[in-house]
């Protein structure tokens, strides 16, 4: 056999950024996708109960959180450009902004959780809350992990590291824009 087969550039080589981060992104999308599909499937068994339960969530707060996250993602994307342009000062300022908006997201999310807890609503109250706590809780955990990751990659400030950290952060964005309409709006 000749070398041609192994040396031909594969589609994977076109992938921007770190391959392992893409493996993670696809895996996360599969998990959240399956979770949201399961949520909608169980909803068929009790539409009225789900609608009633959904009323307890902070729909407006979640809408604001969408704006917060996509803006934070924008800052992270600009930070990658700053890293590539070799401007570490601008990069760190942008990353700090992205992290701060992540914190804003968590505060709004926390307010919703606090209200739910105050109303005595737990995982077990209704199938809707099992899913909403699970899905948004997993997502919020990723927001926290992303904030830490962004802070870590801003220290060496190499374009490659910043790009990888920002990719994780965009994945958190991506999951939220799919999760928000399904859990809060439908």
């Amino acid at each position: 056999m000749t070398d041609q087969a192994t040396d031909r550039p594969s589609a994977l080589d076109q992938l921007p950024g770190e391959l392992m981060m893409w493996v993670l992104i696809v895996s996360e999308l599969l998990v959240f996708g399956a979770g949201l599909a399961a949520f909608l499937a169980v909803r068929i068994t009790d539409p009225a109960g789900f609608a009633e339960a959904q009323g307890h969530l902070h729909r407006a707060g979640a809408g604001v959180n969408t704006i917060v996250l996509v803006t934070s993602g924008w800052l992270a994307a600009l930070a990658v450009q700053a890293a590539e342009a070799g401007r570490p000062g601008r990069l760190r300022a942008l990353v700090a902004g992205a992290i701060a908006l992540g914190a804003v997201f968590l505060v709004l999310k926390g307010a919703e959780y606090a209200d739910l807890a105050h109303a005595g609503i737990t995982f077990e109250t209704h199938a809707f809350f099992t899913f909403s706590y699970l899905l948004t809780g997993f997502h919020a955990a990723h927001v926290m992990a992303g904030m830490i990751l962004l802070a870590v990659v801003a220290v060496p400030a190499s374009p490659r590291a910043v790009e990888t950290g920002a990719a994780f952060w965009h994945m958190v964005d991506l999951v939220w824009v799919l999760l928000f309409p399904v859990v809060y709006l439908l």
Binding site: Q14, P16, A41, G63, V70, W74, L174, L185
Partner: protein, 80 residues
């Protein structure tokens, strides 16, 4: 499209979702519109924030998978 224009597009799409929800609409048309807006947002994030616009075949793969998933979501949501 720069990342800044992508951000503006995302803001517009989010505003559209919010407006749609605030209008009190529901039913099959509402489901399809809301999920279409979500799909558009996801497409922008994948293309511009995550840079897949530089790799059209891969982006096409993501778009296809996303489309299938959103159709599944729509079917399940309308069935309820």
């Amino acid at each position: 499209m720069t990342v800044t224009r992508a951000w503006l597009a995302l803001l517009l799409l989010s505003a559209a979702s919010t407006g749609l929800a605030a209008s009190g609409a529901h039913g099959a048309v509402f489901v399809v519109l809301v999920l279409s807006l979500a799909g558009a947002k996801a497409h922008v994030i994948l293309s511009r924030y995550l840079g897949l616009s530089a790799a059209p075949p891969i982006r096409a793969g993501f778009d296809l998978a996303l489309g299938v998933v959103l159709v599944l979501f729509a079917v399940l949501a309308i069935a309820a």
